[in-house]
């Protein structure tokens, strides 16, 4: 029985593995040739499946599946051509990190488009050809025919790709381009011409993967999400840009993932002492092992297991473009800011008069929290040039730290420490630790700062795209830990809800969070002046403003000056005598702490105090990047604007359509392509355009030249 189960699971693993190979091969070739990390690769995979669904449904004939097998990948390739021509092409020559930002915007768009066209809910092909149904007996084992079919198709495509890369002229150029693009250019070959072809081919492979796997696992809108992270892991393990790495990595991850998940390994080893017990832990550790491996490879062998040893990523081809004010002088900017703060302060007094509580206590609070999160990201992205794709890690640690402290679990943990534990716990008790909002928030912030120090210490030595991937790895690792650990640790998939917190320190309390109402209702005769002004709102406002002012203060201090210098030219800053790595690490810790404050505030401002693992989803890391870039990074106030526009836009659009993300994604993509310096650069950009129309000859590339660059602090 065990042997049969093992063979079964091995076949399952190979089936998934082959699909991973198709996905990772496309991802890897595209990266190798174009330096583009395509976040939307998973969505192309989903598109392939949905196209095939349409074909098979419309035809109603089982054999339509064969048609879909050809048509759907071709259609995805066409989509790929459009994507490359319209959005990716304008960004060549800019910092490769812009492609990550761009393709993240495409994820938002494509996902919603799929949902809009095909509707939510799970689906499956109506019929598949009879020859693919049922089992076939080989050597005494029954194998599902469909799995064998998937493996056959995948192997055939992989072999074909291998042949195309190794034995055709196009393949030669593609491989040479991946090795050394400049050299190929010097040979007089226009590598760029091959980009569209390569991207379309990668898209077709992803589409094909979608078509075949959907015949086995069915379709759902989020199917792209579920494969993109494993695909990244595979590409990183195998070596960015390496086809062989994608093949080996895909098969290994597919098999290992399936075997550990299924528990069959545990069954096999159960009779063996010690080993059996370790094997029993495997299903819980699967995610940890995979992401741990990914992080280790990035740290110690960034080129991956099969990557080109002379790998040269063309980092620094272009700069990250920071926002610039321009049209408004610093005096006016300051006046506007003070005006905005004044409005925020009086906002709760209008509840029940001009708008209901939702606007202030839900929407405004959410905007404020995300604004602080975006400001924290801006510190590392806009000033130190580090694109963190896993910033949700610190946001999450802040939220979880806060809730765990409120839950009393931190106290329990401290009490469990031998010798010093009990008196320490008693001391915490005397401070009223488990009830105190400030102390709970502080716990989250301190924990995140510590985590940021460790993550920064490990990852800041790797640059650019690799840094982005490694932070993504750490964030996913943390999510896996939270979900896979027993619920008594951090609530697992259910999350932690219902802890109680007060505005208190050491027994002095103003009352419980959520309950304290500053003004119950003020009336002057028949005129109601205000209804229910809650203290919590002002706590959030103070926390966010305080965080922003601290960030700004730091940026305008000598430390911040050096950060700006590092952003401008790392080599120059180093040869002025500055320790670039140390500066990046320090700002990473500060950024982690501020993100944690945002996370903590998020956790205490819900209907009940609490947090769940959905807060840790990578899409949150992506959205905060969208906000920062949308507003204008490297300005600190731009990301606040971005958060307001994004959250406000979401609120506004979601009353009309469920596909608000697609619209915001589209806006974001347009910004990345046409106005990468963000909303804050809009006035200056307009002025410049008007001036040009007035007869001045245009100077330089339009989008690249700042109208009036931001020089110093913004006041």
């Amino acid at each position: 029985m065990v042997v049969e189960a093992l063979v079964d699971q091995l076949l399952n693993g190979l089936t998934i593995g082959v699909v991973y190979v198709l996905l990772a091969a496309g991802l890897s070739i595209v990266f190798g040739v174009m330096d583009v990390i395509n976040f939307a690769h998973g969505e192309l995979y989903a598109l392939g499946a949905y196209f095939a669904f349409s074909v098979t449904t419309a035809a109603g004939d089982p054999n339509a599946f064969w048609v879909a097998l050809l048509l759907a990948p071709a259609a995805v390739a066409v989509v790929g051509v459009g994507v490359e021509r319209l959005t990716i092409r304008p960004l060549y020559g800019r910092n490769p990190l812009y492609h990550i930002l761009l393709t993240f915007g495409l994820v938002l768009i494509l996902k919603d488009v799929v949902e809009f066209v095909w509707g939510p809910g799970n689906k499956s092909y109506p019929v598949t050809p009879g020859v693919l149904q049922g089992q076939v007996a080989v050597a005494g084992f029954d194998f599902p025919r469909y799995s064998l079919f998937v493996i056959a198709v995948g192997s055939l495509m992989a072999a074909g790709t291998w042949y195309a890369l190794n034995d055709t002229r196009v393949g030669l150029v593609v491989r040479a381009g991946a090795q050394d693009r400049e050299m190929v250019r010097h040979l007089g070959i226009e590598v760029d011409r091959y980009y569209t072809l390569v991207f379309a081919f990668g898209a077709a492979l992803a589409g094909l993967a979608g078509v075949v796997l959907a015949g086995r696992n069915g379709l759902e809108v989020a199917m792209g999400d579920s494969v993109i992270i494993p695909a990244f892991v595979i590409v990183v393990l195998g070596g960015l840009g390496s086809f062989r790495g994608a093949v080996v990595g895909g098969l290994v991850v597919g098999v290992v993932q399936t075997l550990t998940r299924s528990g069959v390994v545990a069954e096999v080893f159960a009779p063996v002492p010690v080993v059996g017990e370790l094997a029993a832990l495997l299903p819980a550790l699967e995610g940890l092992v995979v992401f741990g491996l990914m992080i280790a490879v990035l740290l110690f062998r960034p080129r991956g297991l099969f990557g080109n040893p002379e790998w040269q990523s063309s980092e620094g081809e272009g700069d990250l473009l920071v926002g610039g004010g321009g049209a408004l002088g610093s005096v006016w900017r300051r006046r506007l800011a003070l005006g905005a703060v004044a409005l925020l302060i009086v906002a709760p007094f209008g509840v029940g008069l001009a708008y209901d509580g939702f606007v202030v206590y839900s929407l405004l609070v959410s905007i404020l929290v995300w604004a602080l999160f975006a400001v924290s990201l801006d510190l590392v992205m806009g000033y130190a040039g580090l694109v963190s794709l896993g910033h949700v890690l610190f946001y999450g640690v802040g939220a979880y730290g806060t809730v765990l402290a409120a839950d009393g679990r931190v106290t329990d943990l401290v009490a469990a420490v031998p010798a010093v534990g009990s008196p320490l716990a008693a001391g915490l008790g005397a401070l009223g630790y488990a009830d105190s909002l400030p102390l709970a928030l502080l716990t989250g912030v301190a924990a995140a700062a510590a985590v940021a120090w460790v993550v920064g210490y490990l990852s800041i030595r790797v640059a650019g795209v690799y840094f982005a991937m490694i932070t993504l790895g750490f964030a996913e690792l943390f999510r896996q830990v939270v979900v896979k650990l027993p619920a008594s640790w951090a609530g697992s998939t259910d999350g932690l809800y219902g802890a109680e917190l007060s505005y208190s320190v050491a027994g002095v309390s103003l009352g419980e969070v959520g309950d304290v109402v500053l003004v119950e209702g003020v009336a002057a005769g028949p005129v109601v002046l205000a209804r229910e002004v809650r203290l919590l709102y002002f706590v959030v406002l103070a926390g966010v403003l305080g965080g922003y002012l601290l960030a700004r203060r730091v940026i305008e201090a000598p430390f911040g000056g050096v950060l700006t210098a590092i952003r401008e030219s790392e080599a120059r800053a180093q040869f002025l005598g500055y320790n670039v790595v140390a500066h990046k690490r320090r700002v990473f810790v500060l950024s982690g702490a501020l993100a944690a404050l945002a996370g903590g505030l998020q956790a205490v401002t819900g209907l009940v105090v609490g947090v769940g693992p959905s807060l840790l989803h990578w899409i949150n890391s992506g959205e905060v990047i969208v906000m920062a870039v949308l507003g204008g990074m490297g300005t600190l106030y731009g990301p606040i604007l971005g958060a307001a526009v994004f959250r406000g836009g979401q609120e506004l659009l979601s009353t009309y359509t469920g596909q608000w993300r697609a619209l915001l994604g589209l806006v974001f993509v347009l910004f990345v392509v046409f106005l990468p310096r963000g909303i804050v650069s809009l006035p200056g950009e307009l002025q410049r355009r008007l001036r040009e129309r007035g007869g001045d000859p245009p100077t330089g590339a339009p989008a690249e030249t700042p109208a009036e660059p931001k020089l110093e602090g913004d006041d």
Partner: protein, 269 residues
């Protein structure tokens, strides 16, 4: 200037003579290729030394080894009597080993003043308290501001302080870069082909600027063009295929048969 007027201050720790910068058997291999091969370089305090050699002689690699941009395979670098071989580039700069870049590198998005201020801040960095470093406005440090203003005057950019560095004309950018080096107050300045890609006119202006502004420093100039360095150097070291071919006065080097062969008759160049 000449090697004779080197003063004896501070370098007494070096055993043999008053070398402010010295390399011992410095070697760098890339696989089979030995780019720098057992180079012993001794630069006296106050000297203007040029290191020349044909393309591929290992000049840039030597430069990188001295500044710390690359680590040597073997051998050592001594600066001011201290072994700095294991130090990171920024630590060498802090000890007084400044450098310019072959391609002018300034902070082009920042103002001229902020560029120089950043360089001046580096000199005072150790004396800034931790709280001040993170929270005090960067413009409020008087010593830094004074140094900044002095340097701006020295490189004749005092009237353009609020302009964006990227918007400066090429010559002014070059000036600014020299200013950045000067503001870090280096004892030794390493210049990596400062006139690469310049017209004859620009080259003359740049060499004059270096002579004016950096005359009181020890200079090590890495250069491809022999004629350029003959006039300004105190001594010249000639590299060929990673090795020191000869070191001597400009006259001696100009007359050296080996040097002429390396440049003219060799199988490389």
């Amino acid at each position: 200037m000449s090697a004779d007027d080197a003063s004896g201050t501070g370098a007494g720790t070096d055993r043999e003579s008053d070398a402010v910068l010295a390399t011992e058997a410095l070697t760098k291999r890339f696989g089979e290729l030995t780019a720098v091969d057992g180079v012993d370089l001794r630069v006296e305090r106050g000297e203007f030394r040029s290191v020349i050699g044909p393309n591929g002689a290992g000049k840039t690699t030597l430069f990188d080894l001295i500044t710390g941009a690359q680590r040597p395979t073997s051998g050592s670098v001594r600066f001011d009597g201290e072994d700095v071989t294991a130090l990171a580039p920024h630590e060498r700069v802090r000890r007084g080993l400044g450098r310019s870049f072959q391609i002018t590198t300034v902070f082009s998005g920042l103002t001229v003043r902020e560029n120089v201020r950043l360089a001046a801040q580096s000199v005072h960095d150790a004396s800034i308290s931790r709280v001040d470093r993170f929270l005090r406005p960067k413009g409020s440090f008087e010593a830094i501001a004074a140094d900044t203003t002095a340097t701006l005057k020295r490189v004749e950019l005092a009237d353009r302080t609020e302009e964006r560095a990227g918007a400066l004309a090429y010559g002014d950018r070059r000036r600014l870069e020299i200013g950045l080096v000067l503001a870090t107050d280096p004892a030794v300045v390493l210049l990596d082909e400062p006139t690469a890609g310049m017209s004859a006119e620009e080259t003359a202006a740049t060499m004059q600027l270096i002579d004016e502004v950096l005359a009181d420093r020890t200079l090590v100039l890495i250069e491809h063009d022999v004629d350029l360095v003959l006039e300004v150097s105190d001594r010249i070291t000639v590299l060929d295929r990673g090795r020191v071919l000869t070191t001597g006065s400009p006259e001696a080097v100009a007359d050296d048969g080996d040097v002429q062969r390396a440049y003219l008759g060799g199988d490389r160049g």
